[in-house]
């Protein structure tokens, strides 16, 4: 069996694609040699992830052309050039790419990288042997770019991993001190398409018309310069002192936050999978998400789906129901737990690894 190496654009702790790649690596090693390479590697992961810049030398040393499993989520011209320069087989695992338009306001280079990523998808199309999308939504995007026979396989992701993290004492203390009321949670990158502005608007409606002492935590990585400032100013101008933005959390801190939260909500308008929805269900939280992209299939009927056109008042009513209505809370918890059991039982890392290995063995 040929070596099955994965290549990512960037690898960082807590990143869903990185976590998936590591899980998939473990499964792929059952079929042969497997490593994970990344163009940008966070220092904390240097012991796990190899630099993609060394990929050529690594292959030369082994004198065997591997299968390259490329995780596509953003453009990386140099990386793509180096992969296309090699004669070996390519597997594309598509995780979707953020819409670049709103990113343009804050980071032109990042917006350009996202556009470049879509162009790269078109360029490598003819070289890809196997195409995997982690949702039907993502598969549809690839089909529109000309990819035939896209296989849909859920993200090889362990939703229970975070729940095994111990609580962080400082974060526990902070939450106990600062939160005095029902707590809503959003987890996700601070990016425009996550529509945190809508979330803030909905929270504004919630505290104005329904639950004045509700709290909201917006937890995620600060990906765009200045975007957090804009969100914070919006919170300030709306006098929403009970809503806070927290960035740069560790797994232990995030687990602590999930444990403290009473409900989870995301109003994102573009999702290729939406890992936090499943994490929240693992922690027993009722979940509401906007019915966009891959969210309905990720939720699988275990949460409240907010219609795409619904406004902040509707979202606020969904928030209220999750916080205030015992029947809704309990119903969603039970559904969520069942969804997580089902997801785990399917063992997606093993299934994806098996499909890839079998394809090339054949």
């Amino acid at each position: 069996m040929k070596a099955l190496h994965q290549i990512l654009v960037g690898a960082s702790p807590g990143d869903a694609i990185t976590s998936s790649a590591l899980l998939l690596r473990a499964a792929l090693r059952g079929y042969g040699e497997s490593e994970v390479f990344a163009w940008f590697v966070h220092p904390d992961l240097e012991h796990e992830i190899l630099p993609a810049q060394l990929f050529e030398a690594w292959i030369e040393a082994r004198r065997e052309e591997p299968v390259v499993i490329l995780h596509a989520s953003i453009g990386a011209p140099e990386l793509i050039e180096s992969i296309l320069a090699r004669p070996g087989s390519i597997v594309l695992v598509y995780h979707n790419m953020s819409p670049p338009d709103d990113v343009e306001h804050f980071d032109r280079q990042r917006a350009e990288n996202l556009r470049e990523g879509r162009r790269e998808l078109e360029r490598i199309c003819s070289r890809v042997q196997l195409v995997v999308a982690d949702s039907t939504f993502n598969a549809k995007e690839l089909e529109e770019l000309g990819y035939p026979d896209v296989r849909v396989m859920p993200l090889p992701f362990d939703p229970t991993a975070l729940s095994r993290a111990t609580s962080d004492p400082e974060m526990t203390n902070r939450l106990e001190t600062e939160i005095a009321g029902p707590l809503l949670l959003f987890v996700g990158q601070l990016m425009p398409h996550k529509r945190i502005d809508w979330l803030i608007q909905a929270f504004h409606c919630l505290v104005t018309f329904s639950i004045p002492n509700a709290h909201l935590l917006i937890v995620g990585e600060d990906r765009l310069p200045g975007f957090r400032d804009v969100l914070q100013q919006y919170l300030d101008e709306l006098n929403l002192g009970n809503a806070r933005i927290i960035t740069g959390v560790t797994d232990a801190e995030l687990a602590t936050i999930y444990r403290k939260a009473d409900a989870f909500i995301t109003l994102s308008e573009h999702e290729g999978f939406c890992v936090p929805v499943l994490e929240a269900m693992t922690f027993g939280l009722p979940v509401t998400a906007r019915a966009v992209g891959a969210v309905p299939e990720t939720m699988a009927g275990a949460g409240l789906l907010l219609p795409q056109r619904a406004g902040p008042c509707e979202a606020a009513e969904f928030m209220r129901a999750m916080l205030d209505d015992d029947e809704v809370r309990e119903g969603l918890k039970v559904k969520g737990a069942r969804r997580i059991r089902s997801f785990i039982e399917r063992d997606h890392p093993a299934r994806m690894a098996g499909e890839i290995a079998e394809y090339f063995q054949a």
């Binding site: 804009v230 101008e237 709306l238 619904a310 902040p312």
Partner: protein
């Protein structure tokens, strides 16, 4: 629970509920659009200028802030803004008299008005802040609170028209009418004995030997309401360092014509002009009990300050129920009805006097206090 619970059905119910609230007008019509506009403004500013957007001030808001500043100055209640002119003879004198009569109730009213206005000021400041940040979605919240504030102020206005302030205004009008009818009280128009009697000088006459004995070793002595100077004369003739003050110019002149050291001054002015801890004895007839409630505490504290330790104070006055207590009021609408000796004693004790004792006689009392 799991089998019966249908998230899709719940989602539909929740949406319907919002639609019902919208139909009932519970949610502002432009709420969502104004919220979005608000966010777009922040983003657009950040995109263009790279810095946070400043708060946008509507011209009406600026005007409101100006008014707020004027309001802030207005509630300082500058005394120069109080009209003391009068069309009736006596002008300022009359107003001074009226002020004495109504000082306490008016003071109480002003305390309450000042308190209410300071709360109104704070309320307006908060409303202004809310308006500063107001976009369409905040309008309903601010509107409801503003309506509430206006309702309260409207109630206050009714109270002013119908309540205590209105009664106070009526009383002032009645006093003004009384002032127009007033016959100036001139002691020389009365027989001297009656004039002295109305100043509660009788105790000194009946008990002068006893009183002189009490204070002769506590000189210097100041008689705060010396009248024609009868007591001062007795003390001086007995070799005691004594002086006096008399508020009635006629009586003061009469005393001075007898070469007695009697100044034409009010009791308060007389005591205030003395050096601290300089007086060994102070006597007063119809003094502490005749000043207003607002002034009497101040008067007692000044007395305490001007007397030396161990000094003696003798204060005589008519009992409130005595006929003499009411007599001057017939002619003088500004007349302060005497306070009871118990009240005066309590005030002196609070002003650091000790060993306060009261001797009651028929219709009058003699109060002794040691500094």
């Amino acid at each position: 629970m799991d089998d019966n619970f249908d998230p899709e059905a719940v989602a539909r119910q929740l949406q319907n509920k919002v639609e019902e609230r919208r139909a009932q007008g519970e949610l502002p019509a432009d709420l969502e659009e104004s919220l979005s506009r608000h966010f777009r403004r922040i983003v657009e500013h950040k995109r263009r200028f790279g810095v946070p957007a400043p708060l946008r001030l509507d011209p009406a808001v600026s005007r409101l802030q100006e008014l707020l500043a004027r309001f802030d100055r207005a509630i300082q209640f500058d005394p120069s803004g109080v009209n003391v002119e009068s069309n009736v003879p006596g002008g300022k004198v009359f107003h001074r008299a009226v002020t004495k009569v109504v000082k306490r109730p008016v003071g109480g009213v002003f305390d309450q008005v000042a308190n209410a206005l300071s709360i109104v000021l704070e309320m307006l400041e908060m409303l202004t802040r809310a308006v500063d940040q107001m976009d369409g979605h905040l309008r309903k919240q601010v509107d409801s609170r503003l309506s509430l504030a206006l309702d309260r102020l409207s109630d206050f206005d009714k109270d002013v028209s119908n309540g205590d302030l209105h009664l106070l205004r009526r009383r002032l009008e009645a006093l003004e009418a009384a002032e127009a009818r007033r016959v100036p009280f001139d002691a020389l128009d009365l027989p001297l004995e009656l004039a002295e009697r109305l100043r509660a000088n009788e105790p000194w006459g009946a008990h002068s030997t006893q009183i002189v004995e009490m204070i002769r070793r506590s000189a210097p002595v100041l008689d705060l309401r010396a009248g024609s100077g009868e007591l001062v004369r007795v003390l001086i003739e007995d070799g005691v360092d004594a002086a006096g003050a008399e508020g009635d110019g006629s009586l003061a002149s009469l005393a001075q014509s007898s070469h007695l050291p009697i100044d034409h001054a009010t009791p308060l002015d007389a005591i205030f002009s003395r050096a601290d801890a300089s007086l060994g004895a102070v006597v007063g007839r119809g003094t502490l009990d005749r000043v207003t409630h607002a002034d009497v505490h101040y008067f007692a504290r000044v007395l305490s300050m001007k007397m030396r330790g161990g000094g003696i104070g003798l204060f005589a006055g008519f009992l409130p129920e005595a006929l003499e207590s009411w007599a001057p009021a017939v002619a003088d609408p500004a007349f302060e009805r005497p306070k009871s000796p118990e009240v005066v004693a309590e005030i002196l004790l609070n002003a650091d006097f000790s060993e306060v004792s009261v001797r009651l006689e028929r219709g009058w009392y003699l109060l002794t206090a040691i500094r």
